[in-house]
């Protein structure tokens, strides 16, 4: 079971379809807050989260998950951008995410990452 957090509907949809085709079951959230609520309802072992989202961004979600659900593997994805002069993904790594992927990424790469994390 994967919890997917992505504000862009099409990206979310396409990624969900791809993951489902690969055999994963996917829950969607449009922003970090929604994801956290879903996770509290039922914990997913893996979180795939976009970093830049308008309502509550990925960093907040990452921090909250690290705090509340330290067991959950986190894969951060981003189309690029900087925070405090540091690349989003580098920042995410510093926050302790398990893997990062730069958009656009090959689905195979994501699936490899998931397998490597031995999760889902």
């Amino acid at each position: 079971m994967i919890l997917l957090v992505e504000d862009d509907a099409d990206q979310r949809l396409a990624l969900k379809l791809a993951l489902e085709l690969a055999g994963y079951s996917v829950r969607e959230a449009a922003h970090g807050g929604e994801a956290l609520a879903l996770q509290r309802e039922r914990a997913s072992p893996v979180l795939i989260t976009d970093i830049f989202m308008p309502e509550s961004d990925g960093f907040e979600a990452i921090a909250a998950f690290r705090r509340e659900f330290p067991e959950t593997k986190i894969i951060a994805v981003s189309g690029g951008g900087q925070r405090a002069k540091q690349d989003y993904l580098a920042s995410a790594k510093l926050m302790g995410v398990d893997a990062t992927l730069q958009k656009p990424f090959d689905i195979e790469a994501l699936l490899d990452t998931l397998r490597a994390l031995n999760a889902g």
Binding site: Q11, L13, A14, L15, L17, A18, P54, G79, G81, F105
Partner: protein, 738 residues
């Protein structure tokens, strides 16, 4: 007032009091000199008068002596004649005559005894008798007569002697014996003698001395006496002499010489002694002093004025050049250093030139630094904007690519006919469209930047165009999250329809992006002051005045990173509006949010108006879409609206039925797999409803089996479309249902 004028005033101010003082001194001196002259002249004239009195007294005394002679006691006239001749020997020009009481001359010392002599009492005639002396009486009878009448001595006025036929005066005294006047003894004195006397008194050089008798006739003068004897004084002098004795007076002699005149009148003789000094002589030194003073003053003033002009020029020329220098400094040019005669001015000039050079250098240096800093800041800003733009661009391109990449993977893996594949294809379509708009905007901006974007103008109604675009967006579900209201009036513009739609789409996109779900976005078109005005009001967080100034700049985005998209949408709006001769502006709206206003020049409505409803393309229908899949519904709605159909949408069977009853659509597109009831059921109910036979029903199925088609026909559908629905198929089916 010019400097030169100031200097002239200065000179005059300095010279004028001096001049006034000098004049005062001269006038005082003149007065004093005149007093001295006056006093001297009066002294002289009195002395002269006394001298003449003395002479007369001497003569009178001699007469008294002769009158006392014993010879007259007994009438011995011969002896008396001898005595008289002897007595008068020393007296030149004078003789004595003894008259008896009848006036008959009995003895004359100038004639031999017994010689015949004229009787003055009988021979005397009035003035004018002798042509040489028209004013003088001929014959000296009057004094003799007076002595006989009064018995007192008499001094005569001038008369012409009957004896000598020359001008003379007589001194007559009575000869009294036994208390009775027996004779009159007269001394006759030639007027010439008085002239000699006057000359002997040595009057001041150039002075004119005259002895005048009681009638005002000249007895003698020190100058030219023979010619002037018997004539009156000059009128002005005569008038003066007629007054009581006093000071000097200015007058004019009979010869016409201007003089100072004084006189003295003798109590003894009643004669007047007159002294005249030619004015020119008397006041020669004074006049000279005055002339010198006047000339000196005039020269001083002239020299002063000349100096003022010269010095003024020497000062004013450098001052003018100072002004020129100051002017050129003000213009930022180099000031010329001229050498000046005035040291202070030269120093000032030097200081000005130096200061000017420093200022110029300072200004130039500051300007250079400012320019350099501005350039650097500009370069920094440009570099930063470019960096940000590139970052955003990469973000904006990566997002659709991410979706496309995932969708491509899905399409590779999934059954092409499966719902998953359909969804993935939708994603590809949408994201492709999104990306092509992105790239299109970028290209447009770049085309506008190099001036290569051409407008394809046509006359159309902006209100109608906006209304149609809104209905397309509404149909495609893009207004679902907001309350979008539309208020338009027909306003015609001469514009590129596609570009204007681009403007509206960008503004609308912007408004929807920044307005939270559930809030209102207002769209309006109206005519204001000859312009077509489009307003898009959102209820976003508004915009600061500072941001409003640059929000239309390229690559500028308001809000957090990435949120605003590429930052070219509004820049494109601005450039497109300007290309149309219009403008765009943004302002805060009441109650938060922003209002974007686009003004385009309005154009007259075309003369031949197309029939009403022409804005709806031919064959436009009212179409109802009943579809639970958001993407599918939106795609359909968008395509139908683009073709000009009036579109309504419903998510499930029951709301679809309700909407159909309400709107009475021409055609209903119904998905078979609906959540509450299947599409067959919806079709059956629609057919059963009032007017149900008129409506065209189209089934949308994911499965293209012949059985499905038969089931659809059975349920009352007129046509059947297998998903994914292509535009061609949709058009074809709608055409068949006509």
């Amino acid at each position: 007032m010019r400097l030169r004028s100031h200097l002239i005033v200065l000179v005059l101010a300095a010279v004028a009091p001096l001049l006034a003082f000098a004049v005062f001194i001269v006038v005082q001196d003149l007065k004093q000199q005149r007093e001295i002259l006056d006093r001297g002249m009066r002294d002289t004239v009195r002395a002269l008068s006394s001298a003449i009195d003395g002479e007369v007294n001497t003569s009178l005394a001699l007469l008294e002596t002769l009158a006392a002679a014993a010879a007259l006691d007994g009438g011995d006239l011969k002896t008396f004649h001898q005595i008289c001749v002897r007595a008068m020997q020393a007296r030149k020009g004078a003789y004595v005559t003894l008259f008896d009481v009848s006036g008959k001359p009995r003895v004359n010392s100038s004639r031999p005894f017994g010689a015949a002599l004229p009787n003055p009492l009988r021979g005397t005639r009035p003035p004018g008798a002798d042509l040489r002396y028209p004013n003088v009486p001929l014959g000296g009878g009057d004094p003799v007569k007076q002595v006989l009448e009064t018995g007192r001595p008499v001094v005569s006025d001038l008369f012409i002697s009957l004896v000598t036929a020359g001008p003379r005066i007589g001194l007559d005294i009575p000869v009294v014996r036994q208390g009775r006047v027996r004779y009159v003894l007269e001394m006759s004195i030639d007027a010439e003698e008085f002239a000699r006397l006057l000359v002997e008194q040595r009057p001041p050089a150039d002075s004119l001395l005259a002895l005048v008798d009681r009638k005002g006739l000249v007895i003698a003068r020190n100058v030219d006496s023979a010619r002037r004897v018997g004539t009156p004084l000059g009128a002005s002098l005569a008038a003066h002499a007629a007054e009581p004795e006093g000071g000097s007076r200015v007058g004019r002699t009979a010869e016409g010489v201007d003089v100072y005149h004084v006189f003295a009148r003798s109590r003894l003789t009643g004669w007047t002694t007159s002294l005249s000094m030619p004015k020119s002589d008397a006041l020669a030194s004074l006049t000279e002093a005055l002339a010198l003073l006047a000339g000196g003053a005039a020269i001083a003033v002239l020299l002063g004025l000349l100096a003022a002009l010269v010095i003024g020029k020497r000062i004013s020329v450098p001052i003018s050049s100072l002004a020129v220098s100051a002017d050129s400094l003000a213009r930022g040019e180099r000031a010329q250093l001229d050498v000046s005669a005035v040291r202070e001015l030269e120093e000032l000039h030097r200081a000005l030139v130096t200061a000017g050079m420093e200022v110029r250098e300072g200004v130039a240096e500051r300007e250079r630094r400012r320019l350099a800093e501005a350039k650097e800041a500009e370069a920094h800003a440009a570099a930063r904007a470019k960096d940000e733009f590139l970052a955003v661009l990469s973000h904006e391109l990566r997002n659709p690519l991410a979706a496309l990449s995932s969708a491509a993977h899905v399409l590779k893996m999934a059954d092409p006919a499966s719902e998953t594949a359909v969804k993935a294809r939708r994603v590809v379509e949408r994201q492709t469209k999104h990306m092509s708009r992105l790239v299109g905007d970028l290209l447009d901006v770049s085309r506008i930047a190099v001036g290569k974007l051409a407008l394809d103008r046509e006359r159309f109604d902006l209100g109608e165009a906006v209304g149609r675009l809104a209905s397309v967006w509404r149909a495609s579900g893009r207004f679902e999250r907001h309350e979008v209201s539309l208020e338009t009036t027909p306003v015609w513009v001469d514009a590129d329809r596609a570009r204007v739609e681009q403007i509206v789409a960008n503004l609308l996109d912007n408004a929807l992006k920044f307005t939270p779900a559930g809030k209102a976005v207002k769209l309006s078109v109206k005519e204001e002051d000859g312009a077509a005005v489009l307003r898009v009001a959102d209820q976003g967080r508004g915009i600061s005045a500072e941001a409003a100034g640059r929000i239309f700049d390229l690559f500028v985005q308001e809000g957090q990173d990435g949120e605003g998209g590429l930052g070219i949408g509004l820049a494109l709006v601005k450039r497109l509006a300007e290309m149309h001769g219009g403008s765009v502006s943004v302002a805060g709206a009441d109650g938060g949010g922003s209002v974007f206003t686009v003004r385009l020049p309005s154009a007259p409505q075309p003369a031949v108006q197309e029939p009403a409803g022409a804005s709806r393309p031919r064959g436009a229908r009212s179409v109802l879409i009943v579809e639970d899949n958001d993407d599918a519904r939106q795609m359909l709605a968008e395509e139908l609206a683009l073709d000009g159909h009036e579109v309504r949408v419903a998510r499930d069977g029951s709301s679809g039925l309700a909407l159909a009853g309400e709107a009475q659509p021409d055609i209903a597109l119904i998905d078979i797999g609906l959540p509450d009831m299947d599409g067959y059921e919806v079709a059956r109910r629609l057919r059963a409803a009032h007017n149900g036979q008129r409506i065209g029903l189209v089934a949308l199925t994911g499965f293209g089996q012949p059985d499905d088609q038969r089931r659809a026909i059975d349920a009352g559908f007129d046509a059947h479309i297998v998903k994914p629905v292509t535009a061609e198929r949709l058009k074809q089916v709608l055409a068949e249902l006509r």
